[in-house]
Each structure stands twice: as C-alpha cells, then as structure tokens.
C-alpha cells in the first residue's frame, strides 16, 4: 500500500484522531478553540493539495485508489466544504449541547470518507467509503438528542440509507459474479463482452439506484426534505454539498470509468430520471414555509440539473457538472451560514422578516445565494446551468440536429428554472419587503462568520463572471473519464 498517495486523507484522519484525543483533556470552555483549530488544519491541508497537482494519473493500493485530476478537484471541493462547515459548527456550538469535540471529529471522518470516494477505482473501495460517509451521517444527523425532529431525521436517513446500501451491494455482487473483478479499469477492459450480459446490466442498474439515494435523485429522493429540515444546520450543509458531490463523483466514475459502453446506452434513462427529479423538486418546493425544507427540495431539483450533465454523456457535460458543483458549494455555504446565525429557534421563512434592516450583510448574502440558485446572471448558478444546457444541446445536435425530440429535456429544465424563480424570490421578498417585521433588533455578525461569508460571496461572483480558470481545471479533470 503506497502511503504517499494518501497524504491528504491521512492528514484529515490524523487531524480527526488528534482532535479526539485532545478533546478528552480540554475543559468545556475551550472546545470552541478546537473547532477553529480544525478549520485551520483543514485550510493547511487544502493548501497542501495545491502542491500535488500535475503529474500523470497514478493508481495504487491494489488498483483501488486513483489519484488523478478528477480526484484532486473533488478533494479540494470537500476540503473547502469542510472548512466552511466547521466554522458553521463553531457558530452553532451552544445548540449542539453535548459533544462539540466529537461533532468535529465525526465531521472530519465523514470528510475523509468523501475524499476516499473521490479516488475510488474499485467497487469495494466505493462501498467502504460510502458506508464510512453514511455511518458518520447517521450520528451527525441525530446529533441533537433532545430535539425530536433531529432524531426523526436520523431514523429516516438510517432506514433509507440501509435500503440503498442493500441495492448497492446486491448490484456489486452481480457485477462481480459476471465480471469476476471489482476493479473499474479491469471491468472497462472487458466492457464490450460484459455489455452483452443482461445480469451485468441489472447489477449496474442496482448500483446506480444505490448512488441515486446519495445524490437525492429520483427514485430515492424522498428522504431529502425531512432529513434536511431535522438535522442540525451545519450537518444539513455538509449533506447538501459534500454528500451530493461525493455521490456525483462516484456516479461519474461508475458510469464513465467502469462502464462507458453501457453509459452510452443509458443516456435516455438518465435523461428521464433527470426530468422527473427536476419537476419533483421544483413543484414540491412551492408551498414550503420552512427554509431548510425548501432548500431540501431545491437540492433535489439541483440534483436533477446535475444529472443533465451526466445524461449528456460527453466531456463538456462532465466538466459542466464539476463547475456547477463548485458554484453550488459557495452558494449553499453562504445560505447556510446565514441560516445558522439568524434562525435560532424558528426556521420558518417568516423569521427572516426585516433582515435587510437588521443586518444588511446577512440579507445581501442570502439574497445573492437565492439569486444564484435561481440561475440569474451574473452569478455562479447561471453559468453552471448554462454550461449544463450547452452540453445537453451538444448531445442533441450530435444525435439528430433537426428533430425536436433531442431537446425535450432542455425544455423541462427551463420550466423547472422558471418555477424555481417563484420560491427563491419569495424568500428575498420576505427579507426586504415584509409588511410588519416583529423583531427589528440588529444582529451582530461575528468575525468567524463574516470572513467565510465574504469568501463565499466573492467566489459566487467570480465563478459567475470569470469561468476561465476553474472551467479549464474542470475540463482537465474530466480527461480521466472515457466517453
């Protein structure tokens, strides 16, 4: 086992274990400092990851662990999410009652699981990394023992995650039975012969079903609103960004590294799943009053948009998925940071009334996040959606340029975007133009929230107007996939 390949993950795991041990001997008053130390540690590891770029893709640890551009892109994404979520956790500290130190430790271990998933080149590593993420999330989602919605969300997540894992393992078993190996590269080498075996099709479909749970896409998307609403806000942020990104990198690797022959056949199926997911997420979000539940349905819709890029089955689609996820990261992080600070007891949208007068920074940040999620230029969300649509239209043009049928999915997605404008702007309207806000006391925003909020806002605008560098990085990263 080549340990030098695993430096980033070993750094995160070492940080987690060190935090666990140090936390056992620190007095409770100082545990907030440990959270900040964790954030600084993650920032250092993120800086270290910039040293690692370049060099040919390497596969090690028995062919399981792939270090290539795709893995590195996602690992940086996960480390960035980690920093932001740890800072959210420090802000959320009093509401976590017991065990703030353990909260950070389990968060870091979930992060390590995501980073291993980004590098998975084998079904066994895929499964173990996914289970590491899932078990960490079981504990994190039900962290607030005294709050009933948190426990209920934990139970729902546990049961559905176990169901999805059952499908995943059964699929992996079928694939192993047919192909006699679990390695992605080896499966791809036999791809043409295996693609004629219907049992292989069934196995891969079940694996996709298991992964659909992780990304909250049809048909296993029912858990998202309840779990997002019940979990503590930093955990919701990690679920919404980190877990979804991990699911998507696994989906990209399974479809385009292990079975590109089948992926080409299944473009229609992926398009159907994408369409249903977009419509379900957007339509069900309209009547929502709880902001976290609204963001849960919105994240289902966003999984649908991301599936557009996967269904396009071409390099620009995959690059668009990566770019969209990068923009999504900063957008949702900004939104959840504001929710952490403002919504202490009441998560209803009405609690945001008059926020523009209470704290212009927070109101502006949330407003920009909503605008970016809605896909309005010149923010990151618009450019991400534009790239996804462009990849889809490229595919339609490659298949049959004149027929309208190739572009039906783009139409459905546009309908989804129009519907989403309604509920995103409802949030903005409450903040700026509410009639009688009950509470107009000013909110003081601590520095540990101001700095990440500023970073997120700058990143949202940067990714919206200057796609050059990040898009080039994304296009370079997807060279690891085969189309």
């Amino acid at each position: 086992m080549n340990l030098s390949l695993l430096t980033l993950e070993l750094g995160v795991i070492g940080l987690a274990l060190a935090l666990l041990l140090i936390d056992l001997w620190t007095p409770p008053a100082l545990t907030g400092r440990l959270g900040l130390a964790a954030a600084i540690g993650l920032l250092l590891i993120l800086a270290l990851s910039w040293n690692m770029s370049g060099g040919p893709p390497v596969v090690g640890c028995g062919g399981m662990f792939a270090r290539d551009g795709l893995a590195l892109f996602f690992k940086r994404l996960f480390l960035a999410v980690g920093v932001l979520v740890v800072l959210m956790g420090v802000e959320y500290r009093e509401r976590l009652a017991l065990g703030f130190g353990e909260f950070n430790v389990i968060l870091l271990i979930a992060l390590a699981g995501m980073m291993f998933a980004a590098s998975a080149n084998d079904f066994v590593l895929l499964f173990v990394a996914m289970e590491l993420m899932s078990v960490s999330f079981y504990v994190l989602v039900s962290f607030q023992r005294s709050r009933l919605p948190s426990l209920e969300a934990g139970v729902k997540y546990l049961i559905l995650s176990a169901l999805a894992a059952a499908f995943l393992v059964f699929g992996i078993a079928l694939i192993f039975g047919v192909g006699n190996t679990t390695n992605f590269a080896a499966l791809n080498a036999e791809g043409v012969r295996l693609a004629q075996d219907k049992l292989y099709w069934l196995g891969l479909l079940m694996v996709l079903l298991g992964l659909a749970f992780k990304i909250a896409a049809f048909p296993l998307q029912m858990w998202a609103p309840d779990v997002y609403q019940g979990a503590p806000t930093p955990v919701t942020a990690l679920l919404a960004i980190g877990s979804k990104a991990a699911g998507f990198v696994l989906l990209l690797r399974v479809l385009f590294v292990a079975a590109p022959v089948l992926a080409a056949h299944w473009s229609k199926l992926l398009m159907l799943a994408s369409a249903v997911t977009i419509l379900y997420g957007n339509l069900c979000a309209i009547p929502q009053r709880n902001l976290k539940r609204l963001l849960g349905y919105s994240s289902i819709a966003n999984a649908g948009y991301l599936l557009l890029g996967v269904a396009a089955v071409n390099a620009s689609g995959a690059a668009a998925v990566l770019y969209y996820l990068a923009g999504y990261l900063f957008t949702l992080a900004a939104a959840f940071l504001v929710i952490c600070v403002v919504m202490r007891d009441n998560e209803d949208i009405g609690a945001l009334a008059g926020l523009s007068r209470r704290s212009p920074l927070l109101a502006g940040a949330l407003a920009l996040a909503m605008v970016s999620l809605a896909g309005v230029p010149p923010l990151a969300g618009f450019l991400g959606k534009f790239l996804l649509f462009r990849a889809l239209i490229e595919r339609g043009a490659a298949e049959s340029p004149e027929s309208f049928r190739s572009y039906w999915l783009a139409g459905v997605a546009v309908i989804g975007v129009v519907i989403s404008l309604y509920y995103y702007f409802a949030v903005i309207r409450v903040m700026y133009w509410a009639k009688d806000p009950p509470d107009l006391s000013p909110i003081i925003v601590p520095a540990r929230v101001q700095i990440p909020l500023a970073v997120c806002l700058v990143a949202m605008i940067y990714l919206g107007v200057m796609p050059g560098a990040v898009l080039a990085g994304a296009t370079e990263a997807v060279k690891a996939l085969k189309f």
């Binding site: 086992m1 274990l17 666990l20 041990l21 056992l24």
Partner: protein, 130 residues
Amino acid sequence: MKVADYQLSQYLPVLILGIVAVAFAAGTLLLSVLVGKRGRDSRIKDTAYECGMLPVGAGGTRLSVKFYLVAMLFILFDIEVVFLYPWAVIFRSEAGREPGVILGSMIGFMLILFIGYLYALKKGAFDWKH
C-alpha cells in the same frame, strides 16, 4: 492446500451435532407437554402476585441504557477480534517477505480502535455504576 482437503463431508459431524442439539431440546419440551399433567389455566393465575391486591398498570421497571452501550461496544471490539483471526493465521508466513507491511497494517488498525477505547474509557462508558 488442495481442494481435496476441504471435503464438505468433514463438516457433516457439525451438522449432526446441530440437529441432535435441536432435537434434544425440542424433544424434551414435546415430551413434557405430551406426558406431563396439564395444569389448570385461568387468567387470574397468570397475573403478577401483588400481596393479594390486583396489579395496576404494566409491570416491569425500565431497563437502563447501559445494557445497550455494553452490547454495542462488545460488537465493535468483537469485529476487531474477527479481523485479528485471519491476520494471526498468515502473519508467520507473510512476515518473512515484507516484514513491516503486514505488522504495520494491523498495528494501524488496532491503534485507531485503541483511540476509540480510550475515548469510551474517558467518557465513562465502561463505568457500570453511573
């Protein structure tokens, strides 16, 4: 080791042992039902005895959550032991080739679980009195 060493017929005695054990237990129960005297059942006889008063409410004290914690910790350390079995069996032969790797991987595994043990110890999970 050849396939011939693993004839399934070697495991037939295990199956027979299992069947005999089940048959013995089931047989004695069945025998006592068939041959023994049947007591007179009545609903009042089946209720709990409360010094002559009729029992009010469901009986039974609430069980402490300590049992769950002990069982859970037992499972986790049992799985660690299960991983130790194949390691112990191959350690002698594999250690000759690359001495550090096999030992190192198991030491890493046990170190992480030892940190978990320290955590449970410090948090009083093994303290039965509290």
